[in-house]
């Protein structure tokens, strides 16, 4: 089926050359442009794809698109949340279809160009070779991509859409329909007295917790890694194993154990302090001391990971650098500052940034240790609530799913913009040849 007939090249001033006609035909229906280009097999194949796509998905997309626009019209019969989900899936399927559709138009245009130049368009064999050759990596990535869409993109889209609805207890299917409300949730959030009264203090503590816990856990990890890395230290493997243990125990188990260790009246920590003559510390009931306890626990939970990371990097630093520094008469501190620290930070910066982002939303430790408590008189937030745990309290007992989604978007925007800014500033992604 190779197109053997070579047409004469069209005049350059003619607006409707072969590429344009082919592209327009492809717009009308997938494959028409290809047929016009005399690529019969490809054209028929594209036509088949298009009709089977429409045949299989038409009803689903029809209901899905209608559903996402109206969110249902008859209560009890239409389940708004299911319609929303179907609508999002429809959008994803349409996006996928459009990708192929545009590829088809582009292909028609390009082949048209080839024909206009008077060359022969690629035949079926060549096309097959091109597709399998260039397309092979994409073929391998495809399952991963679909999985990513199903488990990451879809829930994210769902959450984003929810933030613009009135989905709460009183507007909940099957009894009631959910409606689109635009940006109302975001405005109402900031207008509500409940949110105004503690937002600033919660935000401050969130930032302090994030900065202090991440920085110290990294510093501690780095310090221990360097210590163990010293030539004079013996039983290196033993020390590493012991120090990695906090990481090996599931965090929520450790946190619950710490909760009982820090108990005001019956906890072993206060018992020890009392027997030393220091008196008990109100770990669970005084906001200041609860914050200290949470930070201490987070250091303990977090340092092994940083230590493992830094150990890996340290082992990769060439000893030549240190020998050269010694010849130049550098002190140990100078060696640390000018060789170890820059190289370690350079290699670990991306992980460090993700750790900051992780601690910003570190719900586990806050909630499991003391449920964000101790309570503060006249405030909806406890003494150690960070944004995410506070939002959880405010929205989940009152079934305000719409508010929860709205706040999550705000938090995500904050974390993402800071992370992106930091990522772009670190050299890790710019100079790729500092460590060879």
């Amino acid at each position: 089926m190779v197109d053997s007939q070579v047409e004469t090249a069209s005049k350059p001033d003619r607006p409707w050359g072969k590429p344009q006609i082919a592209a327009c035909l492809s717009v009308l229906s997938m494959g028409l442009g290809q047929l016009y280009n005399r690529q019969w097999a490809k054209g028929v194949f594209f036509l088949l794809i298009q009709f089977s796509y429409l045949g299989v998905f038409f009803d689903f997309l029809n209901i899905g698109l209608w559903g996402i626009v109206t969110l249902g019209t008859i209560p009890k019969l239409d389940h708004s949340i299911l319609l929303l989900a179907q609508g999002i899936i429809s959008l994803l399927i349409i996006a996928l279809g459009l990708v192929f559709y545009f590829l088809n138009i582009r292909d028609a245009y390009k082949v048209g160009k080839i024909r206009e130049r008077g060359e022969e368009p690629p035949g079926i064999k060549e096309t097959y070779q091109t597709v399998t050759g260039y397309g092979y990596p994409y073929l391998l990535v495809a399952p991963g991509l679909f999985l990513l869409i199903a488990v990451v993109v879809f829930p994210l889209l769902f959450m984003i859409f929810l933030a613009f609805t009135n989905y709460d207890l009183y507007h909940s299917p099957p009894a009631k329909l959910v409606d689109w409300v635009g940006f109302d949730n975001f405005f109402n959030l900031f207008r509500s007295e409940l949110w105004q009264n503690s937002f600033i203090s919660v935000f401050q503590w969130t930032v302090v917790f994030t900065l202090v816990s991440t920085t110290v856990q990294f510093g501690l990890g780095l310090f221990l890694a360097i210590l163990i890395h010293q030539k004079r230290v013996r039983f290196k493997k033993f020390w590493r194993t012991v120090l990695i243990l906090p990481w090996a125990v599931p965090a929520f188990v450790s946190i619950l154990v710490f909760t009982s260790l820090f108990d005001n009246t019956f906890g072993p920590i206060n018992a020890m302090l009392t027997s030393l003559g220091l008196g008990g510390v109100p770990w669970m009931t005084d906001p200041f001391w609860t914050k200290i306890a949470i930070l201490l626990i987070q250091f303990w939970l977090g340092f092994p990971f940083s230590m493992a990371l830094c150990t890996g990097v340290l082992q990769g630093i060439s000893s030549d650098l240190y020998e050269a520094a010694e010849v130049d008469g550098a002190t140990p501190f100078q060696k640390f500052r000018s060789i170890t620290l820059p190289l370690v930070l350079y290699a670990t910066a991306p992980v460090l940034i993700t750790q900051y982002a992780f601690n910003f939303n570190n719900f586990n430790i806050i909630y499991l240790f003391n449920e964000g408590g101790p309570p503060i008189p006249g405030s909806t937030a406890g003494g150690t609530d960070i944004l995410i745990s506070w939002v959880y309290k405010l929205t989940f007992d009152s079934f305000k799913y719409n508010y929860a989604a709205a706040v999550t978007i705000i938090i995500a925007l904050v974390v993402m913009s800071i992370s992106v800014y930091q990522f772009r500033r670190t050299r890790s992604f710019k100079e790729e040849d500092l460590i060879q």
Partner: protein, 420 residues
């Protein structure tokens, strides 16, 4: 010739709009209307039961009996009781839902609002079989949504080695605690989770406090009574317990249980869920109803679980019959023997099986005096502020009057936000 490039794009848009314009399902609004008329005898009814193994086995046994009796097949499916609502929300409209469901009664309000369950129609004789408080628990806005099978209440556990007979009144109990508490030796006269409103509610009730004002069998959520005269008096009473160091600050139920099992505590206030734990620890203990307070029987919170009629059931009458069978005297007796759950059935409480077990008798008696936790969703906004207020009172951070006023203000704001 740039427009040449844009022309295909414009055509795509036209096509897209054309597709969108013709969408939506074809249907008549009438099709939602249920056809009225006599319903036929169903072939099968489905029950979603709690997946706890004893309970599930007992429910299956009863289902089999009903099948033999009526000829209707009853299928029992074990489900996580607290996730049943979420599951019914999706399975119900899809036509895969059950006829009967169960969960703690304080979640009935949510279920009615989201349209998951429907009122049942039974004769007054049937309703009268059960304790009034348990029927009230299953009633939402004046309509009955099911029949009760279990009731739970807190009561007074006492260590027989330390105290032979529990005091008859609350005032005597506090006196006893004052004389027999020595925190330095971890010795206590009376312990309970005093910073938890669930356990303190009977004190509020005793002096005239209430959560929401009841008007014509409905709760008025605009009127919160947790800072009225009576509530403040209860606040002072609780403050005294902590001020006199009768109860250590911040104590939780786990610690209370631990100390009671070590034999350090003469009396604790706890629910029937602690029974097997205490029995396992070989404590020589007895259970009594809470002592009289302010001259009257203590009204503690009770929790009720019943069988409710799913809103998606296609066999309303048959399912209602099944509910009546599942909560009949014989069924509840069989259930009690299998699971130890205390039934709110008036005749059954007088039955020898229950009367002869002193612990169960005490819980059943106390449950009879109790008030069900409000089953409206606004109750969810009460717990945290009031518990925080109790913590402030216990720790001496705020005076009871101020703490309760603050809590009520917060509760009102939260309810407002919930309905926003």
């Amino acid at each position: 010739m740039k427009w040449n490039k844009w022309l295909p794009m414009a055509m795509v848009l036209v096509l897209a709009v054309g597709v969108l314009a013709a969408c939506g399902p074809q249907r008549d609004a009438d099709q939602t209307q249920k056809e009225a008329g006599k319903e036929e005898k169903p072939k099968e009814l489905v029950i979603w039961a709690n997946k706890d193994s004893d309970e599930l086995a007992s429910t299956k046994k009863l289902a089999k009996r009903y099948q033999e009796k009526s000829g209707i097949k009853v299928k029992v499916v074990g489900q996580d009781m607290l996730k049943m609502q979420d599951k019914l929300n999706l399975d119900g409209p899809a036509g895969k839902g059950p006829d009967l469901v169960t969960w703690p009664h304080d979640r009935i309000g949510e279920a009615v609002i989201t349209g998951l369950i429907q009122p049942i129609e039974v004769s007054q004789d049937v309703v009268d079989q059960y304790s009034e408080s348990s029927i009230k628990a299953l009633t939402y806005k004046g309509k009955l949504y099911g029949l009760p099978k279990v009731t739970e209440s807190i009561a007074l556990y006492y260590n027989k080695d330390l105290i032979k007979e529990p005091p008859k009144t609350w005032e005597e109990l506090v006196e006893y605690a004052k004389e027999n508490t020595e925190p330095s030796q971890k010795k206590y006269g009376l312990l309970f989770e005093g910073e938890n409103f669930y356990y303190d509610y009977f004190l509020f009730r005793a002096y005239g406090g209430y959560i929401f004002k009841e008007e014509n069998g409905k709760f008025n959520t605009q009127k919160v009574g947790l800072n009225n005269e009576g509530s403040k008096k209860a606040g002072i009473e609780i403050e005294e317990l902590y001020k006199n160091k009768l109860i250590p600050k911040g104590i939780k139920a786990d610690t209370v249980n631990g100390l009671f099992k070590e034999g350090k505590v003469a009396m604790v206030i706890n629910g029937p869920w602690a029974l097997s734990d205490y029995r396992g620890a070989k404590v020589n203990f007895g259970v009594a109803p809470l002592p009289k307070i302010n001259g009257e029987n203590a009204q503690a919170f009770i929790g009720v679980k019943g069988w409710y009629l799913s809103n998606f059931s296609k066999h309303k009458e048959a399912a209602t019959e099944l509910i009546q069978f599942m909560t009949s005297k014989e069924s509840l007796k069989s259930r009690y023997q299998d699971t130890g759950d205390i039934p709110p059935h008036k005749d059954l409480i007088e039955d020898p099986v229950i009367k002869e077990d002193p612990a169960v008798k005490a819980f059943a008696e106390q449950a009879g005096y109790g008030n069900p936790m409000p089953n409206i969703p606004e109750m969810g906004q009460v717990w945290e502020p009031i518990n925080n207020a109790l913590a402030f009172i216990a720790q001496g951070k705020q005076k009871p009057e101020k703490a309760l006023d603050d809590a009520v203000k917060l509760i009102e704001e939260k309810i407002k936000a919930q309905k926003q």
